[in-house]
């Protein structure tokens, strides 16, 4: 069991800065993130995009902001559980909260700060009515081990990088590989597009363009897919697997079932200290909602700062908290 003062769910900019503000008042933090590296959206989606509304930085690359935050919080030695998704929240007998990840790592603390941003990245699913019925028996959204498809027939759907890259890999090991794309052109990395085109010319990949897989047929497991093709009769292809690869999309994920008061996909908080309806659970940054909420990194920093003051009072109800000005004494790590 990892023990700390504040468990922070989400290692994006707001989660990272929480470590700093907590550190100033001698609280320790441990961060959990489903991504394998810190930075959240900034690292995963747009590391090379400039941000213009960080005070003091007329412009800064998202990736650079993450690096600087990591440098800023280094004196407070935060712990990290990366590449694991926070899945379960329970109350322990001693009143602390316990957060368990999908890999079984347990964390305990009096306070939990949910700084989950957009949520966890999950595969985008095409709108096919019985898609879910075949999830364990013929439909995969994420390919963990390509060997699973050796000498099998696969139909891949999608036109982005992941669909193209997997087509190149699977064309070699499958007995039959079909790529279905809604458009005629591909916009992926030039190299992958050329490889796929070459595979199509040499007959290693069957390419169906201007088309969408919109029907799944099988008994118990998937047997064939129906493909609607623009201005052509519908085609049916027998297959062992259907792999819809349409990229990832963030969703709130397991947090939605933790008994928190939600509005749409956001957690409702009290702006006094960004506390939720569960005592000791806070929500800060893009994941929360209150009247007048703005989804800005800047606002998340402010929310984190007020939140740690409240967390302190929960840990030390008898101590008078003195707000520290870093200009007076600098930053003392621990």
């Amino acid at each position: 069991m990892i023990e700390t003062d504040i468990i922070i769910i989400g290692a994006g900019p707001v989660g990272l800065f929480t470590v700093f503000e907590a550190g100033l008042i001698k609280l320790k933090c441990h961060l959990i993130d489903s991504l394998p590296m810190p930075g959240g959206q900034l690292a995963e989606i747009y590391p090379k995009k400039p941000i213009y509304d960080i005070p003091g930085y007329p412009t800064i690359m998202a990736g650079e902001l993450v690096d600087k935050l990591m440098e800023q919080i280094a004196p407070f030695h935060p712990g990290f559980t990366l590449g694991e998704k926070a899945e379960k929240l329970e109350k322990l007998e001693d009143g602390r909260w316990c957060v368990t990840t999908d890999k079984g790592t347990k964390h305990a603390a009096k306070n939990v700060a949910i700084a989950g941003g957009l949520g966890v990245f999950t595969p985008r699913k095409p709108p096919i009515s019985n898609l879910n019925d075949y999830e364990q028996c013929g439909v995969d959204y994420i390919i963990k081990d390509p060997e699973k498809f050796r000498d099998k027939r696969v139909v891949i759907s999608g036109g982005g990088d992941s669909a193209l890259d997997w087509t190149v890999i699977l064309a070699d090991i499958t007995s039959e590989c079909t790529l279905v794309h809604r458009r005629t052109g591909f916009r992926g990395a030039l190299d992958s597009v050329e490889k796929v085109m070459h595979l199509a010319h040499t007959g290693k990949v069957k390419m169906v363009v201007n088309a969408e897989v919109d029907e799944l047929i099988g008994v118990g497991s998937l047997k064939s897919v129906g493909i609607s093709i623009k201005d052509m009769p519908k085609e049916y292809i027998e297959t062992d697997y259907f792999l819809p690869l349409f990229g990832l999309m963030p969703t709130l994920g397991p947090i939605a079932d933790w008994g928190l008061e939600l509005k749409k996909d956001s957690i409702l908080v009290n702006t006094l200290d960004y506390s939720t309806n569960l005592e000791g659970i806070y929500a800060i940054g893009d994941v929360n909602h209150y009247e007048g909420k703005l989804k800005l990194i800047l606002c998340g920093f402010h929310e984190a700062t007020l939140m740690v003051q409240s967390a302190f009072k929960r840990i030390y109800p008898d101590k008078n908290l003195v707000l520290k000005y870093t200009t007076v004494n600098g930053v003392t790590g621990f």
Partner: protein, 110 residues
């Protein structure tokens, strides 16, 4: 009124809304739809990365050409109509789109 245009958005229940939008604030159509509390998730916050603000353009306004980011997203989105689909976050509110008529695309499951 100066610096103000009107755009028309038909929601997923078929109700047509008339939205007033200022042209001098650098807003996108997605943001205007959010301000008027239309059911647009805007998960990615306007970075052409989620397609939750996808609309079908019904009027013949000339819109700015799609960027590579927008094209790439529409490649992977669902319910896409190649003639009409655009991402609301990539449509800038300015004088040239006064009277624009759009319909919200269906929501995709995730």
């Amino acid at each position: 009124m100066d610096n103000q245009i009107t755009v028309f958005v038909t929601d997923r229940d078929g109700v047509r809304h008339s939205l007033e939008a200022p042209t001098d604030m650098g807003l996108s159509l997605m943001e205007v739809m959010r301000i008027h509390e239309l059911p647009v998730k805007a998960t990615c916050g306007g970075m052409a990365m989620c397609a939750t603000c996808q609309v079908y353009v019904e009027s013949d306004h000339e819109l700015r050409e799609k960027t590579d980011d927008e094209e790439a997203m529409l490649d992977e989105a669902f319910f896409v109509d190649d003639e009409k689909s655009r991402l609301g976050c990539q449509i800038k509110i300015n004088e040239s789109i006064n009277g624009l008529e759009v319909t919200l695309a269906p929501e995709a499951e995730s």
